[in-house]
Amino acid sequence: MLEAVIRPFQSTRPFNRTRIVATRTKDAVETAVLRFGAAGDIPVPQKVDAAADPSYGFVIRKGKDTYREVVRSTEQIRVEQEDNADNYVIIDRAKKSTFDKQKDPADKTATGNGKSYFDTNVSYDANGNPVYQNFSTKDASIELVYYYPPPSNGASPVTVIRG
């Protein structure tokens, strides 16, 4: 492979090639597997007072637009805790990202069974999953550019390049 990098147009020599001495293991070796993790203390469900919310907390949605990220350029930065540099994370900070509008039928509101009790305008597919309609059908994309630190003149730290 190295020769291909150094001399990409050079044909390989048919003779005098280095021979690989494949070393074979005769005996089976023991395994080296580390397995850990446990359930530990699990939180318990909390009963909700029915009188407090006669609507049962369901969210009714008739439609939505979903923009999904398709391109992002990033840079790695180390973010440390203000008073303890040992506590840190290395993150990929976005410099620029692009979003395209897409349908996302899988994204449904958690309503218990995925249906709304009260929204009769929502249609359902053969499996009983809700089928949402987009508010608009026009294709669009958005490109955002981020500034670090934010501009001192009060301008938005995010610039929409194309919408």
Partner: protein, 642 residues
């Protein structure tokens, strides 16, 4: 020619010859006129690798040879007219022999052996203990005698009959010059040319070394571990992982030193700590338990409307129970270090055949005596052997770093092969001396011989009229009855005498020579010369050792030591398990049980670094061994020869 006068001086101990002290009137051998030493016969014999011996027939002293007051050393010398010249010094062997019928005459033998012979020989042997001629990895400790150093040098011990100097002398070529024997020097009808067994054609060599490949160290697999969590739905950046069953994972985190198996353990710097400086995530679901599907009716509003008409409301109320379930996605900073203590059995085998470039003395394909086999095995490559130097003595492990996956590919390993190739060469060279020429010469000419010299025979009866070889024995005989005479025997090598071309330097694998520095550029087709022009073999650079498990103990990296990291019950799977419980009419299981069943479990699967043996085999090409041509068996006898 004046008559020879011999002197036989008894001396108390080995000493340098002095004519005034050792060629005196008292030491003179009775020559019929005068002389105190009644010696009738003296024969000096020196054979290659043996002590020079002097046998004298003398009048019986009628006293034990070791009797108190008797000197035990002698100087034997001769004056042929130009002054006394020493011939032999030695110590008496204790027993005087008697021949049947000889009354009053005993045979006394003397050996030219210094009292401190073993010390002298050991000193010489020590000076010869150097690579590649001497390699302790092929010598068992109890077999490391002085003679071992000669096995690869094609040499014998030599003891000088005058100085008692101990040295090693090559059996291929004499170190102290050549004694030329012309037709006028040799007795015409006393010259013998004989052939012993056929020369050895080749030696098959098989070398095996075994060692425990050992190494220790840490490998940081934190990033791989973090990536596995990211793949399992953890949203935090490096080096933070997260789980909805944090207490379980935290509590079950393996302690430093925990044995993993296969030579692995948890590293001492491995840890997990809650990343309190990061905001934890929360997953909250609301759901209705519809297990109780009965409906309770109760009266609602009742009264009169604005028209005064009475009315009421009937309310129907279900008995479903609403719940909320919240889990916390806890972030943890981790440092995942695994420690290895590798201990692998390794075996390396080198096979090659060293063929001799000899003349076709006996063309018989059925003669299996023309091929020999040398097999050697060593367990010492990873042990301290030596010394590598004597002042001060230092002992080192030949492989230096036992983590290496190859010994023969190191410079030291190549020397180990060279050592055994030299051993093969010694056998081939010894067997190539299959022609013996022995002739009678004058006493004076024989007296110039030693077993450190060559003899060159100029005789028209030989092919091309001459032959040369190492002197393997000579005799000087002084007989009161028949006179004085000498005898010389030499071993003649039947090699073709063609030197090998220069060892191939090989070609660069990557780029032309000079572009890359040595050590970076790989070469192929190169040869190593053990003895320039005589012995060379294929370089180990032509071979690359790759273990079938992919582990290189000198370069332990996560990608080579990790089989896999599997995170089951990652954040995404946990959320999906919780959500799945509220996707039906009845809660079975409930979200808490679902989360308990989907607790986070980590499986780190590493490549074992114990076991074996790992076996590597090298088949090395060796050029034909160039051997001395002492006689041309294909040449014609010169015209006009007798």
């Amino acid at each position: 020619m004046p008559a020879s006068v011999f002197y036989f001086a008894w001396i108390p101990a080995a000493a340098t010859f002095s004519a005034s002290s050792h060629a005196t009137r008292a030491a003179k051998v009775f020559d019929g006129v005068d002389g105190d030493q009644e010696i009738f016969y003296a024969e000096l014999t020196h054979e290659e690798g043996q002590f020079p011996l002097l046998e004298v027939h003398m009048r019986d002293p009628r006293v034990g040879l070791l009797a108190s007051g008797r000197n035990q050393w002698i100087w034997f010398s001769r004056d042929s007219g130009s002054g006394p010249e020493a011939l032999f010094t030695g110590r008496v062997l204790a027993v005087a022999e008697r021949k049947k019928g000889d009354i009053g005459v005993v045979i006394v033998k003397f050996r030219a052996c210094p009292d401190d012979y073993l010390t002298r020989r050991a000193a010489v042997a020590d000076s010869l203990r150097e690579l590649p001629y001497y390699d302790p990895i092929w010598i068992a400790e109890d077999a490391d005698t002085d003679d071992v150093v000669l096995e690869t040098r094609a040499a014998y011990w030599h003891i000088d009959r005058l100085t008692l100097t101990v040295s090693a002398s090559s059996l291929i070529e004499g170190e102290d010059g050549t004694v030329e024997i012309t037709e006028s020097d040799a007795f015409f009808d006393e010259t013998e040319v004989t052939i012993e067994q056929a020369p050895l054609q080749s030696v098959d060599l098989s070398l095996t070394v075994q060692w425990q490949q050992t190494a220790s160290g840490d490998v940081d697999i934190t990033r791989n571990f973090w990536q596995a969590f990211v793949n399992a739905g953890s949203p935090y950046p490096y080096p933070v992982i997260s789980t909805n069953t944090g207490p379980g994972l935290f509590g079950d985190w393996p302690e430093a030193g925990t044995n993993i198996g296969g030579g692995w353990s948890v590293g001492s710097t491995s840890y997990i700590a809650e990343a309190t400086w990061l905001k934890s995530g929360t997953h909250v679901v609301h759901y209705v338990d519809r297990t109780d599907d009965t409906i309770t009716y109760r009266w609602g509003h009742a009264g009169h409307d604005i028209t005064g008409q009475f009315g009421f409301t009937l309310l129907a109320v279900d008995n479903y129970q609403e719940w909320t379930y919240a889990t916390e996605l806890t972030p943890y900073k981790v440092n995942v270090i695994v420690h290895f203590d590798a201990d692998r059995k390794r075996t390396e085998i080198v096979t090659t055949t060293l063929a001799a470039d000899v003349q076709t003395v006996i063309a018989d394909s059925l003669d299996d005596s023309t091929t020999e086999t040398i097999e050697a095995t060593s367990d010492f490559v990873s042990q301290e052997v030596g010394p590598d130097s004597t002042s001060p003595p230092t002992f080192n492990s030949p492989i230096v770093d036992p983590a290496r996956n190859s010994f023969f590919k190191t410079a030291r390993g190549a020397q180990a092969l060279e050592n055994q190739l030299l051993r093969c060469r010694a056998r081939l060279a010894a067997r190539a001396r299959c022609v013996k020429i022995k002739t009678r010469v004058s006493f004076d000419l024989a007296a110039t011989c030693s077993c450190r010299k060559d003899a060159r025979f100029l005789d028209g009866r030989l092919p091309l009229g001459e032959a040369s070889g190492k002197i393997v024995s000579y005799r000087l005989i002084a007989d009161g009855a028949s006179g004085i005479v000498g005898e010389i025997e030499a071993a003649i090598s039947v090699g073709n005498g063609t030197l090998l071309p220069a060892a191939a330097s090989g070609t660069g694998v990557y780029v032309e020579d000079g572009v890359l520095e040595d050590g970076i550029q790989a070469r192929t087709g190169a040869q190593n010369a053990v003895i320039v022009g005589e012995l060379q073999y294929q370089s180990f650079d032509d071979f690359t050792v790759e273990d079938d498990d992919g582990v290189d103990l000198l370069n332990m990296r996560p990608r080579t030591v990790l089989n896999d990291i599997v995170i089951s019950g990652g954040p995404a799977q946990q959320v999906a398990a919780i959500d799945a419980t509220i996707d039906g009419r009845y809660l079975d299981p409930d979200p808490a049980t679902a989360l308990r069943d989907a607790y986070t479990e980590c499986v780190i699967d590493l490549v074992p670094v114990t076991g074996g043996p790992f076996v590597s085999t090298f088949a090395i090409d060796t050029d034909t061994l160039a051997l001395r041509k002492g006689i041309d068996l294909s040449a014609e006898i010169p015209a006009g020869s007798p």
